[in-house]
């Protein structure tokens, strides 16, 4: 459904992504991992339309979409969350989700209906009337997911939605992602919490210093010496790029 | 020849604009607050010079250090009393606080010193400078040189002193500065003091050529805003060079085109620049 082909993004002279290629199939969950500063968020921003790539192409169902602005990407069915939550603080929980729902349901009553449905799906419905700024961090992250879901995406980009959550909350998040997948929505998940991503990812793409160093099922990735080196530090390090 | 004379006249007035803007950009750079009452610092500087002259026959040029000191105090005190409370307020309330201060200062000036136009007559700064067929008023030349010296001093202060570095550090990263043991409150007060002092010095330098009245700041503040944005919010060097540019564009544009539209010319130039380069000429991207 989505293919990323030799995506390169430079800021000034610095390459944040270089020749990044991977595919996302319909309804697949892709884990995007790697150390801080490896370029995960840059990939994300390119996919969501926030950065036009310096070179390379992104195709959605075969159509080239690289360089389209975020609002067009959203209309094409790509929704995202943010690493640092960006909820609409002046709004209630429901209103936050309504903004997402309005992408396909302009009329307020329809948007309310859609938003409530999304809130029920993610289990936030009991907080619908609360000001969004009063939610806990975990709830705010969930709200972002709900809001993105209300856009009725085909592809959902989740940026560290599990970071900083308790064990139980991570489990809930895992469940949620699974249920999202069950709806046929593909997910690209940037995550540090391995225990959260490993069990659900169909495939993992590992980035390091802007390049893809591994791409495969979670088990294989976990045993890949290159990945272990990138994650665990010096003494595990195999000769790298 | 006439054109050269005109260009140089533009540079002279541009340098004074630059000094006013340097103070404004300093405050903005450190605190992200646009001070609408900045022209009133200039006005206070003018009155300080005037009263020094009227009461004690002290020439504005000699009282200039005192004026600078006085305005530093006014700026720092204003920070302590008012601005400190709006550091984290939304941009709109900040704008309106300083807008209110502008009206307040003008009102106070009128209350205490009447709306009359005042002037310093018979300062040592009278006469002309003529060379190579060009001629300029001595006060303008001195004002321009004073503006260069003061802007230079500010630049040197920021670049080469421990306190200047601390100020820049606070501007760049308030928390990191605190971790260095720098008291942000003191730095903010310092920025307001310096900003006000710059405008005050500009006022003192202008006091021998420009009429002095409570609303005199209004004439300069729009230029100062333009320069700050044109040079890049927070960039002292940017404001300085933008000052010269705007002075030349204004005077030469008025000469070659229609003086009624010299402001339009300057503002259009400004809009064009920020449209092409939203961060201004020398601003941080």
């Amino acid at each position: 459904m989505l293919s990323v082909e030799r995506l390169t993004k430079r800021f000034g002279g610095l390459a944040a992504n270089e020749d990044v290629s991977f595919e996302v199939g319909r309804g697949e969950i892709i884990g995007l991992i790697g150390p801080n500063g490896a370029g995960k968020t840059t990939v994300f921003n390119s996919l969501a339309g926030f950065f036009p790539p310096s070179s390379g192409q992104i195709r959605l169902d075969g159509q080239p979409v690289a360089g389209l602005p975020p609002e067009r990407m959203a209309a094409l069915g790509v929704a995202r969350t943010f690493q640092i939550v960006r909820i609409f603080k002046s709004m209630t929980v429901l209103e936050n989700v309504m903004v997402g729902a309005m992408l396909h349901h302009r009329a307020v009553p329809a948007a309310i209906g859609k938003a409530r449905e999304a809130l029920r799906f993610t289990g936030l419905d009991r907080r619908a009337g609360d000001p969004a700024s009063q939610l806990t961090v975990a709830e705010q992250k969930r709200l972002e997911v709900t809001r993105a879901l209300a856009c009725e995406p085909r592809l959902l980009l989740l940026d560290e939605t599990m970071a900083g959550l308790t064990q139980n909350e991570v489990q809930e998040a895992v469940e949620l992602v699974k249920r999202i997948q069950a709806r046929g929505i593909a997910c690209v998940v940037v995550e540090h919490v391995m225990e959260g991503i490993m069990p659900i990812a169909d495939r993992m793409v590992v980035l390091e210093r802007g390049r893809v160093i591994a791409n495969g099922p979670p088990r294989a990735i976990a045993e890949d010496p290159v990945v272990v080196a990138a994650y665990l530090g010096e003494e595990y390090r195999a000769p790298g790029p | 020849m006439l054109l050269l004379q005109t260009i140089l006249s533009g540079v002279l007035i541009g340098l004074v604009y630059a000094l006013v803007a340097v103070g404004l950009t300093l405050i903005f750079g450190v605190m992200d607050i646009v001070n609408f009452a900045h022209g009133e610092f200039l006005m206070l500087g003018m009155y300080a010079s005037f009263w020094g002259f009227a009461l004690w026959k002290l020439d504005p040029l000699f009282t200039l250090p005192l004026t600078a000191l006085l305005l530093f105090g006014v700026g720092a005190a204003l920070y302590r009393v008012v601005i400190r409370r709006i550091t984290d307020a939304p941009m709109l309330s900040q704008i309106f606080t300083t807008f209110g201060l502008m009206i307040l200062f003008r009102g106070l000036a009128q209350y205490f010193w009447s709306p009359d136009f005042r002037s310093v007559e018979g300062s040592v700064l009278t006469g002309k400078v003529a060379f190579a067929g060009l001629q300029f008023g001595l006060p303008q030349v001195v004002a321009a040189l004073g503006a260069v010296a003061t802007s230079g001093a500010v630049w040197w202060f920021l670049r080469s002193t421990r306190l200047g570095a601390a100020l820049e550090a606070t501007a760049a990263d308030k928390e990191a500065a605190a971790l260095m043991g720098i008291d942000a409150q003191k730095m903010f007060a310092l920025a307001w003091g310096l900003g006000a002092a710059c405008a005050g010095v500009a006022g003192a330098l202008l006091s021998t050529t420009f009429p002095i009245f409570p609303e005199v700041g209004a004439s300069f503040i729009l230029f100062a805003f333009v320069l700050v944005a044109l040079g890049g919010f927070g960039s002292v060097a940017g404001a300085f060079w933008a000052g010269i540019l705007v002075g030349v564009v204004e005077v030469v544009g008025g000469f070659l085109w229609d003086p009624a539209y010299k402001l339009v010319l300057v503002l259009s130039l400004y809009l064009l620049v920020v449209w092409l380069r939203p961060q201004g000429l020398m601003g941080k991207a």
Binding site: - | Q135, T209, F210, P211, P214, S219, V251
Partner: protein
């Protein structure tokens, strides 16, 4: 509209129309008391107040109508009470203040407003309410072309002033053989300056002069260098200039600094005749020629001018100038009409104003008197032309009033 409302409005008006014996006659006076023109506004206010105080007082030494009568004899000695309002240079505020004075303060008449734009809106309000409006100091020609019935203007308007200037030039040519050819016009670009510049251009062409440059500049600017350079390049014989105070000062300084010296500088009153102008300019202000409506040296011909001025100076430390003398005169003329009306009913005052016929010796102005035409314009107004000589404004035209000979051309800046 509800009938009750009408009734109440009528009652309010009638209330104003039936003063009890010897009750105060309230007059609203609107001037710019804050803002850039506040210093002029204060002078106007002081002069109007002085006139009112003289009328209310019993000191009779000043031979002017109403003065020293201890109030208005025609209204059983009622005292004049002035209520001042500040229009801040804002036409909307002017209109609101006029309305407040009329409805709240129940004024019998209004005087003001100096700024032509504010006079326009404030007099509209007076017109709507049918309250007499005496305009003492606005010179925009259009004000008396609106067909208003309640609007009376004592001062001559810009057209007359501009005509005067050209008569003066012709006079020079006739009497002294001084030939002026090239005229440049420099004017600030608000209503005052642009209006004057337009008239000057028109009359210059009609009189066969060459207008070599017409420059309009924004009055709140910080420098006038480009304007002066343009003037310099145009090499005019005479510069016609309309400026407010701060730009008048700034322009003079720039002339000197850049070495610009026309044969003569013919100013259009305003900033050049402000009390602060000479104080600020010192010797550099000498030899400026300006149109005026009043000058202290006229006292030589008309002693009452000197006496009135002494009173003003004793109170406020400065001499009258064209503005304050007009405000003073306006108040006298208004009071004289109200006195003749014998009532504060608006219609009565209106009728009395229409019938006003003051003679030249009843005024501290060099006018032929005060008599309004059908548009409310004083048809006997006249202008004079003054020149600064030895730090004083002296009258140099018309010859009949002229006390001194004009200094022509302008002497060099240095060595004055």
């Amino acid at each position: 509209m509800s009938t009750t409302f009408r009734a109440s409005l009528l009652a309010a008006l009638l209330g104003a129309a039936l003063p009890a014996t010897a009750e105060d006659v309230t007059i609203g006076v609107i001037y710019p008391l804050t803002g850039a023109a506040a210093s002029t506004g204060l002078e106007l206010k002081n002069a109007a107040q002085l006139a009112a105080d003289l009328i209310n007082g019993t000191e009779k030494s000043l031979a002017l109508p109403m003065v020293g009568g201890g109030g208005l004899p025609g209204l059983k000695g009622a005292k004049l009470k002035l209520v001042f309002a500040d229009h801040q240079g804002n036409p909307q505020v002017g209109a609101s203040e006029a309305e407040r004075l009329i409805t709240q303060e129940k004024v019998a008449a209004i005087q003001g407003c100096y700024f032509s734009s504010v006079t326009q809106t404030a007099s509209q309000t007076a017109e709507r309410y049918g309250v007499p409006f005496l305009n003492d100091s606005s010179s925009s020609v259009g004000l008396t072309q609106r067909g208003f019935k309640w609007f009376f203007r004592t001062t001559p308007n810009d057209e007359l002033f501009v005509q005067n200037a050209f008569e003066f030039l012709k006079d020079l040519e006739k009497r002294k053989g001084i030939k002026v050819k090239r005229i440049a016009i420099l004017a600030e670009n608000t209503e005052f300056g642009t209006g004057a510049a337009r008239l000057q251009e028109k009359y210059a062409k009609e009189n066969g002069y060459e207008v070599v440059e017409k420059i309009l500049y924004p009055p709140k600017g910080t420098q006038l260098t480009s304007e002066v350079q343009k003037l310099k390049a145009a090499k005019p014989d005479v510069v016609f200039q309309s400026s407010y105070l701060s730009d008048a000062i700034l322009s003079m300084r720039t002339y000197k600094d850049l070495g610009f010296l026309p044969t003569a500088l013919l100013a259009n009153d305003a900033g050049f005749n402000d009390s602060e102008f000479l104080k600020t300019m010192g010797k550099d202000g000498n030899y400026v020629i300006s149109r005026e409506v009043w000058a202290l040296d006229l006292a030589a011909l008309k002693p009452v001018i000197g006496k009135a001025n002494d009173l003003y100076k004793a109170r406020h430390g400065v001499n009258f100038n064209g503005n304050s003398a007009r405000a003073f005169t306006g108040m006298i003329a208004l009071a004289e009409a109200i006195n003749r009306a014998g009532s504060t009913a608006p219609e009565a005052i209106q009728a009395a104003l229409k019938a006003t016929n003051l003679s030249a010796d009843q005024l501290i102005m060099p006018w032929g008197g005060i008599q309004y035409d059908e548009n409310g314009q004083n048809r006997k107004g006249a202008g004079i032309i003054v020149q600064v000589q030895d730090g004083k404004y002296v009258t140099v035209w018309p010859a009949a009033a002229g006390t001194k000979d004009v200094v022509w051309p302008l002497p060099a800046w240095e060595g004055r």
